[in-house]
Symmetry: C2
Subunit: 496 residues, 2 copies
């Protein structure tokens, strides 16, 4: 009994299940907390403590086990051999019995393996485990495996061609178990890149004198659009979710803030099951007072996105590589000064290429794609602006060109042949706004609040909006917007 008790205590000191994290503290006193990503050959000999997910567990005989520990996108091999607990192999057997994805604490010496480790991001160092405790047990049968979710289509095809059995996890199942799916190296990278896109967006705009604002998402009535809005009851009043911060960001400019931006959710109840539509996405919105011309908005877009693309290429090389490994893509081609073309010129290029397009109509997705190809081939860029759209294809609040009202002070921006940004000067003259609404058959009474915003002195202004998920999707050529939304919402998906 006494010796059994001692044995148990010894086990607990070296390995076992942790009752609480606090309980482990005294046991790990001699080890310094370390991050997997920051280990390197210079750490050799250091006594470290690392907490991570047991991505892979492999027993070699009864006394040795290998454990691949993962933190974010970084992995390291941990060697469990003998160990402190009398060398009876108890710790190795404990390690071998860990279910994958369990969270474990490992303490030991960083050491240099004889040969580079394969299959981990840390190839030049490993950890010789002296203590090992499980902090959170994963269920033994995971609904999806992280390695299966991390497999590229190419790998799956190659394995199938070689007659190997590999599990291919479809996108829906991955999204059902997003909490596991997010652990793949590609997903870890995608959402770090998304965060950087937002950081650059904010930093560049702040340095240009913009103020960050938050406009309400709960809107009275049933919004301008009507059809594609989510409706709800607001303490007995009819309300809906904002389809864009359009009116309120304009009001902020008219309220004296001059230049504003917003990062916030945008809600669209459209029943569009496409690769590029979500029912909820993160809008990056800009609105600014203009001095002489709407192209001042284009100048901001230019500066902002060139800075963003540069930053991603310069500072996020590791993340881009991680995405590349699962989803290969060509780096985005863009110019130091963004190409601007008039809509007319785009129409001409398409017509010369034999594409039938209406010069005063809108471009369909196919024509946009084709124009993207033509522009890339002629100008060497996959990022460009198309300016001066026909007024007929833009919203009623778009300012017509003073020299020819059939055209408007508006632009779209394209990445890899897909529209990503829509921008324009807005009509700030209430009378013209009312006339343009009426000409479209909009009942002016329904937009009274909107009109009123411009009656108390309104600076000429314009702006643009872009979806955060689309920026990341198109920069990384990911092909489906669900890959760049943390917990996507589409017409069929409302969970998790």
């Amino acid at each position: 009994m006494a010796s059994g008790g001692e044995h148990h205590e010894e086990e607990e000191e070296y390995y076992g299940d942790a009752a609480t994290i606090g309980a482990l503290r005294p046991l790990y006193a001699g080890y310094a907390w370390a991050d997997v990503a920051s280990l390197g050959p210079e750490s050799s000999g250091h006594a470290v403590r690392v907490r991570g997910a047991a991505q892979e567990v492999r027993a070699v005989g009864r006394r040795v086990a290998f454990l691949v520990l993962r933190q974010g996108g970084a992995t390291v091999q941990c060697v469990v051999a003998g160990g402190g607990a009398g060398g009876d192999g108890g710790m190795a057997r404990f390690a071998a019995g860990l279910s994958r994805e369990s969270v474990v604490d490992v303490a030991g010496a960083v050491s240099l393996p004889r040969e580079p480790v394969r299959g981990t991001t840390q190839q030049l160092v490993e950890i010789k485990v002296e203590k090992l405790h499980c902090v959170s047990r994963a269920v033994p049968a995971l609904p999806i495996g992280v390695d299966d979710a991390a497999r590229s289509e190419e790998d799956v095809a190659r394995a199938k061609a070689a007659g190997e059995q590999v599990v291919h996890v479809g996108q829906d199942k991955r999204l059902d178990y997003r909490v596991i799916d997010l652990r793949t190296a590609a997903n870890q990278a995608i959402f770090r890149i998304q965060c950087e896109v937002e950081n650059v967006f904010r930093q560049v705009l702040l340095s240009e004198g913009f103020v960050g604002i938050h406009t309400p998402k709960l809107i009275g009535g049933s919004s301008e659009g009507g059809a594609a809005v989510f409706k709800l009851d607001y303490n007995g009043q009819p309300a809906c979710l904002a389809q864009s911060p359009q009116l309120h960001k304009q009001m902020a400019v008219c309220g004296g803030f001059g230049r504003v931006f917003e990062v916030g959710p945008v809600f669209r109840a459209e029943d569009s099951n496409t690769h590029r539509h979500l029912c909820e996405f993160v809008g990056l919105d800009v609105e600014m007072a203009l001095r002489d011309h709407y192209t001042e908005v284009c100048d901001v877009v230019d500066k902002l996105f060139v800075a963003m693309f540069d930053h991603l290429n310069d500072k996020c090389a590791k993340e881009l590589e991680a995405i590349q490994r699962q989803y290969p893509f060509e780096p985005l081609k863009y110019l130091r000064t963004t190409l601007r073309m008039d809509y007319d010129e785009g129409i001409r290029m398409l017509q010369e290429a034999g594409v039938h397009v209406d010069p005063m109509g809108d471009l369909n997705t196919e024509a946009e794609k084709k124009l993207g190809d033509l522009v890339r081939d002629r100008y060497g860029t996959e990022f460009y602006m198309l300016c001066r759209y026909p007024s007929a294809v833009r919203p009623f609040y778009t300012m017509p060109c003073p020299e020819d009202p059939r055209y408007s002070c508006s632009f779209d921006v394209f990445v890899r042949g897909e529209e990503i940004i829509s921008g324009a000067q807005r009509v700030h003259v209430p009378e013209l706004l009312a006339a343009q609404a009426a000409a479209r058959g909009i009942d002016v009474a329904t937009i009274a609040t909107y009109l009123d915003a411009f009656r108390y002195g309104a600076p000429p202004h314009g702006g643009f909006g872009v979806g955060l998920e689309r920026v990341v999707m198109l920069f990384c050529g990911l092909g489906n917007i669900r890959k760049t939304s943390l917990f996507p919402r589409d017409p069929r998906r409302l969970a998790p």
Copy 2:
């Protein structure tokens, strides 16, 4: 006819209504764009062009007019005397006819007035107007005046005592015409400060290894809480608006992101007409993996908020002064290292002061206020943390203290005696979570998704949430949260 036409052209060149902003460009060719705020005695003699709102218009005889031009929170006096148009006083009469708040372009020489100008932020310089065009006419009878909205309660009281007639604009009316109300110096400052609070929040967390995320606001079912949620129909499925990003930020941590933050709207359908509740507010949320103890979350709060308060005091002195002028307040007292007290200790202080409180119950608003006074008097701080709350008064997902489960690994943070932050370690063990839910009478089936998130390996974690509007309100002692929301939403207000 010919001379009349010439006269008309001359007028247009020097003053008049601008047809478009582009049309003004050639007329103002010799003048450099300038911002009101950046003018100074060193600008004297410069030929500048400024666009701003006509805050005040005053005619002196038929040939001279004074115009106070406002941009954001900055104002400058413009002197219209004679001018380019033959000196017949036409421009002065045009100026005198401008409605307040109209947006105008002014070109002229910066000059040094003989005496400092009173009532403008630029007191040492004025502009001798050479050209003047109106870009946007405000309606002549504004529903509220910017100067009336800018008046402090003290000024109103003083004027009334002196028997003067002054207009006092109530808060509801100000909010009804928010686009005008936002133009006051105090409001210009409040929302610039709000932007800085968010900037510091992001910068400090990014430097501490946090990743910014966006979680969905559309949630399946009708949420955990039940009562205070906004419900809606999502393509035929029942849905609601997120009352907090709690579950999803925890899932992001379990999904391998380790430390995450979010800035986004939070929706509460509560019918609370108080000075501190909104139906929609901006949540600043943090969730992080823990190493040894939940107080690691308190460490982040400490670092974050001391940095934030320092930043506001150091970098936003002008804005704080502008707020002070309309809403006087005492600067917030806070320590270099934030005071932490156990809940028990708080209870003891209240009991010693003769306040009757239940040691295992929650503090009501009054007791919190009283404790804030006691702490300020004893420790010289109006910003402190109260830790280790009784488990009974915290949500079911709060981790109990390992040494005494009657208490929990949780804390609240107070500013000027009002709760501003609520934080805790979360239960990451599904069995314990289910047991704690059941013990509160929660049907475990209704939280299945929540429980499942922790079955695939979950790092111990904790976090906190705080409302952006409350931070600004309490730092600036503003007394009503509607003052710090750009377009507030309360149980009665859904517009503009």
